[in-house]
């Protein structure tokens, strides 16, 4: 085994520069998603954004969450988005304007929101606790899902089942 402990290596390199790197990638690519004129490129930058979020999860020692993020968002959701773009022939070749004449008003509201959130984050007294790192985080997640959070877990599965049945009904061919 060449690398005994991945999280150890990450904390050795020190998490802070890595955090800034990932944050920069997330913000820069998210900006590209909402500003590029080619919608296919936007979709690809969305994938990059979601992938960098997985990087942040790794820094937080949530490896399971990181992998699931890649599996669900990169592997399934964004493929679906790209599919929708490819199947819509009018979207494919057009240059799409992502803003309209209300861009200044939108920007103003965005800056206000940014200031509000930065303000509330800085002036809140956060309760911080030094918890020891959870050793087997998949085991812990599994146990919690089956005991403490069993009701939300089941409710979510019912919602997913409903969505699944809905998709089948919508996609079913009409019998003449």
């Amino acid at each position: 085994m060449i690398l005994e402990n991945l999280s150890q290596l990450i904390s050795d390199i020190s998490t802070q520069p890595l955090f800034y790197l990932f944050s920069f990638v997330i913000i820069a690519s998210a900006m590209c998603v909402v500003s590029l004129k080619n919608i296919f490129h936007s979709a690809l930058f969305l994938i990059l954004t979601l992938f960098a979020v997985a990087g942040i999860y790794i820094l937080l020692h949530a490896e399971f969450l990181a992998v699931v993020q890649v599996l669900i968002y990169v592997g399934a959701v964004s493929v679906l988005i790209i599919f929708a773009i490819m199947l819509t022939s009018r979207l494919a070749s057009k240059k799409i304007e992502q803003s309209n004449e209300q861009v200044t008003l939108g920007l103003f509201i965005c800056v206000l929101f940014l200031l509000a959130s930065v303000g509330s984050l800085t002036y809140t007294a956060w309760n911080t606790v030094d918890l020891p790192m959870i050793e087997h985080n998949i085991l812990t997640i599994g146990k919690l899902l089956m005991t403490r959070y069993v009701l939300p877990f089941e409710v979510v599965s019912v919602v997913l089942l409903a969505a699944l049945i809905g998709a089948v009904v919508l996609a079913r061919e009409e019998k003449a």
Partner: protein, 347 residues
């Protein structure tokens, strides 16, 4: 001397050289990357040659015979030829997308080897999310196929890319469910733990009746579909799409897709070996030989499929995955859970 001991010795020498621990780890990782890369490049060249020989013998031909003993130098010559070729980019191609597609395909194929145990202790990193990591990282392959299809600005490439994305996404579901039944029994996602839970031949998950063989068959079928090989090779159906998503690629970029395809085939077999065939465990021979032997056997099975079965139609392909494989794999998962719970075959 075992390979592991050589690596351990080198690592200790590096650690004793007075570098800070961070740099020791980074240098060791970089070296591991280079070693795995070299190994995979050789494996891919070998598999190309082997595929040609297997197909030839199945069709009562000899295949390449003139360059070296039974033509073993043929793929080396082909690789050099590909490197020398002109790199053609279509005028109307989406250049950045066209450029990055083969890179992503290659990196995604390569990344999976971080958590594959090549032998006893021969693993780059034994992540506790092992198998899930591989499943997640290989999903980038779909993105690369879609990018190649789109970036080429060619209708055949676009059709090929879309077909293959639909196929890979559909077959990923039964595959992951089949893998889940093994994870459930092993009680761990780590590849090393999964290998160690099948020390004797009767403990191999392939032989844990009845759920093991079913999961294995589902895995192999879905794996064939994931690597876009016959009978699931609709993405590059030659008669319909000329070559599929890689039609506009030439030279080195084409070679990267080609290598990624063969590395993916090796990955599917290596995971199959680890999950179902006891990984690197076996008597007498060194562990890496067992791993390589079992994996190459599975590769041979995949090649055998390719040159035996005709191609499926696209509607058959989707129905087979969603209406047949998926229900069976779910039933099998429940069965595996019952067996684990009741302690039946739980040795």
């Amino acid at each position: 001397m075992e390979i592991t001991e050589i690596f351990k010795y080198l690592y200790e020498q590096l650690a004793a050289s007075g570098l800070p621990q961070v740099w020791v780890d980074i240098v060791a990782l970089a070296c591991a990357g280079v070693i795995v890369f070299g190994f995979l490049a050789v494996v891919a060249l070998f598999l190309v040659w082997w595929e040609r020989k297997v197909s030839a013998h199945i069709q009562q031909r000899f295949g390449p015979m003139r360059t070296g003993w039974h033509g073993w130098r043929q793929t080396i010559a082909d690789a050099i030829k590909l490197l020398q070729k002109e790199d053609i980019i279509p005028t109307l191609a989406d250049r950045p997308v066209f450029f990055w597609a083969p890179v992503i395909a290659f990196v995604a194929a390569f990344m999976a080897y971080i958590t594959i145990p090549f032998g006893d202790g021969l693993i780059v990193a034994d992540l506790n999310i092992g198998i899930l990591f591989i499943v997640a990282i290989t999903s980038f392959t779909v993105i690369s196929l879609l990018m190649a299809g789109w970036g080429s600005n060619n209708k055949y490439a676009l059709l090929g890319g879309m077909r293959s994305a639909a196929q890979v996404v559909s077959y990923e579901v039964p595959m992951v469910v089949a893998i889940c039944s093994i994870v459930l029994f092993a009680g761990s996602l780590s590849m090393v733990d999964i290998v160690q839970s099948q020390a004797m031949i009767y403990q191999w998950y392939l032989f844990r009746l009845p759920f093991g063989p079913i999961a294995f068959i589902i895995y192999i079928i879905a794996g064939t579909a994931e690597t876009n090989r016959t009978p699931f090779d609709l993405p590059e159906a030659e008669q319909e799409l000329v070559a599929g998503f890689n039609i506009e690629y030439s030279g080195m970029k084409f070679a990267m897709f080609f290598l990624a395809e063969f590395i993916n085939m090796f990955t599917v077999s290596a995971i199959g070996t680890t999950l179902f065939l006891g990984g690197w465990q076996g008597p007498f021979l060194p562990s890496w030989m067992w791993f390589l032997g079992k994996t190459l056997f599975l590769v041979f099975v995949l090649m055998w499929f390719r040159w035996t079965y005709p191609r499926l139609r696209v509607d058959q392909l989707m129905e087979f995955s969603w209406k047949f494989l998926l229900p069976i794999s779910f039933a099998n998962l429940i069965l595996a859970g019952l067996m684990k719970y009741s302690g039946w075959f739980n040795w």
